[in-house]
């Protein structure tokens, strides 16, 4: 068993895992099946938020999404027995969300595009501070698809909006133009106001 690729076994089991039936939470996590079969748990890693809260998450999930964590595991700087990865610039709330994103995308990577997009849209239904925090975390951890997702969302916050709306959405209280410059703006882009 140790020679088998753990990840592919994981996915195989995932495909066969028992789904919830009739509201009852009858669910066999693949790792428990594996535990039962192999007697050893799937590797988990510990992430520590800036608030010193520890989150346990499957290694494979984080390795798939975060370049930073992947590098740490590969170059051996992470010791499974004792270490935790300190993420001092990510607070608990954000870290939980990031883990949520990575976990969902690993578990559901076979879902169809529409369902994934719908989940992503729901996932990003946060206020602008939350969005910003997520962006910082995704940048720090180098989670490319989450970064692209958030950039796309910000792009949509700008797309097709009038200038006054953009200022409101991004909470720009002082635009920094002189009155003459602002008037020039209005003349040059009349249909954007």
């Amino acid at each position: 068993m140790t020679q088998l690729d753990r990840l592919s076994v994981y996915h195989w089991l995932n495909a066969w895992c028992i789904k919830p039936v009739g509201g009852a939470l009858v669910r066999q996590e693949p790792e428990y099946i594996l535990l039962a079969l192999m007697g050893s748990p799937l590797k988990k890693i510990m992430l520590c938020s800036s608030e010193k809260e520890i989150f346990s998450v499957e290694e494979q999930v984080m390795v798939q999404h975060s370049v930073i964590i992947n590098n740490m595991i590969e170059d051996g700087s992470y010791n499974h027995e004792e270490s935790k990865i300190p993420l001092d610039c990510v607070d608990s709330k954000t870290l939980k969300k990031v883990i949520d994103y990575c976990t969902h995308h690993t578990h559901h990577h076979n879902d169809n595009q529409e369902d994934l997009e719908a989940w992503d849209a729901q996932f990003l239904n946060v206020d602008s501070n939350g969005l910003y925090d997520l962006l910082m975390a995704a940048n720090y951890l180098e989670i490319r698809n989450l970064l692209d997702l958030i950039y796309g969302t910000i792009k949509n916050m700008i797309k097709g909006k009038k200038i006054d709306e953009i200022r409101r959405i991004f909470n720009i209280k002082d635009h920094g133009f002189t009155p003459e410059e602002e008037e020039q703006n209005r003349k040059e882009y009349p249909h954007f106001y």
Partner: protein, 251 residues
């Protein structure tokens, strides 16, 4: 990661209109959005050939994009180079060989409409005089009359002189008042303008001159109270008329 870097990552995803909006959102946004590389990318999507040279065809790719991708605004006319004060009109009206009217009319006297038409003017004509198209009007005091038998052969000539260069141009050579509109009491004549060779390809622009006459019962006589001139083919405002006059073949 500063917010600036976020913008730097998002701006390349925007299209031209949205990026142009960003230029006006705030000074910080403008500094980032005016990176010509962003505009070069937009230009290369729109006109790939224009990005093949190392340098942009116009000063910046931003300027190139803005100039040619903007919505078409109504082209505004530059201010005319002459004013009516610089002009005088030489108007001569004949019935056969008899001179009915011969005056030098300073440009400033011509107005775009009668302030108070004399009584006896028909309503349709009054309505026309109040119309929005720009027509230069000259009240005729004292009024002259055209005897009935001769109103087939009334002709007009109009020349114009300008004080700034002491040159003269022709507006109407010698045209007959062929068309008499009895319902609105106007007799009309026209001629094609000679435009200066500096502006080639312009032909077929007419000057119209109308004699405005009174509505009285007498069909025998045409009682002219005003003369009107317009260039309604192309010029319908004071500025447009002045430009057109400036473009005549002045000699």
């Amino acid at each position: 990661m500063a917010f600036e870097e976020v913008l730097k990552a998002v701006f390349p995803l925007l299209d031209g209109a949205d990026l142009a909006s960003c230029m006006a959102v705030s000074k910080q946004w403008r500094d980032i959005a005016s990176d010509d590389y962003l505009w070069k990318c937009l230009c290369s999507n729109r006109w790939p050939s224009m990005c093949k040279r190392p340098n942009p065809p116009s000063v910046t790719y931003y300027k190139l994009y803005q100039t040619f991708c903007r919505r078409q605004h109504r082209r505004t006319l530059l201010p005319p180079r002459i004013s009516f004060d610089d002009l005088e009109f030489f108007i001569d009206i004949w019935a056969e060989t008899t001179l009915l009217f011969s005056e030098v009319v300073p440009g400033s006297v011509l107005q775009p409409g009668f302030k108070i038409p004399p009584s006896g003017v028909c309503d349709l004509l009054k309505f026309h005089l109040e119309g929005s198209e720009y027509k230069m009007t000259l009240p005729v005091e004292p009024r002259f009359t055209i005897p009935a038998g001769q109103n087939q052969n009334v002709s007009v000539s109009v020349m114009v002189g300008r004080k700034d260069s002491n040159k003269v141009a022709r507006i109407i050579n010698k045209s007959m008042f062929d068309y008499i509109d009895r319902s609105s009491y106007r007799a009309l004549a026209f001629d094609y303008l000679d435009i200066s060779p500096v502006y080639p390809f312009l032909s077929g622009i007419r000057a119209w001159i109308s004699l405005l006459f009174m509505e009285d019962g007498n069909e025998e006589v045409i009682d002219v109270f005003g003369i009107q001139m317009d260039f309604c083919d192309v010029a319908n405002s004071k500025e447009e008329v002045l430009w057109l006059l400036d473009m005549l073949d002045w000699k």
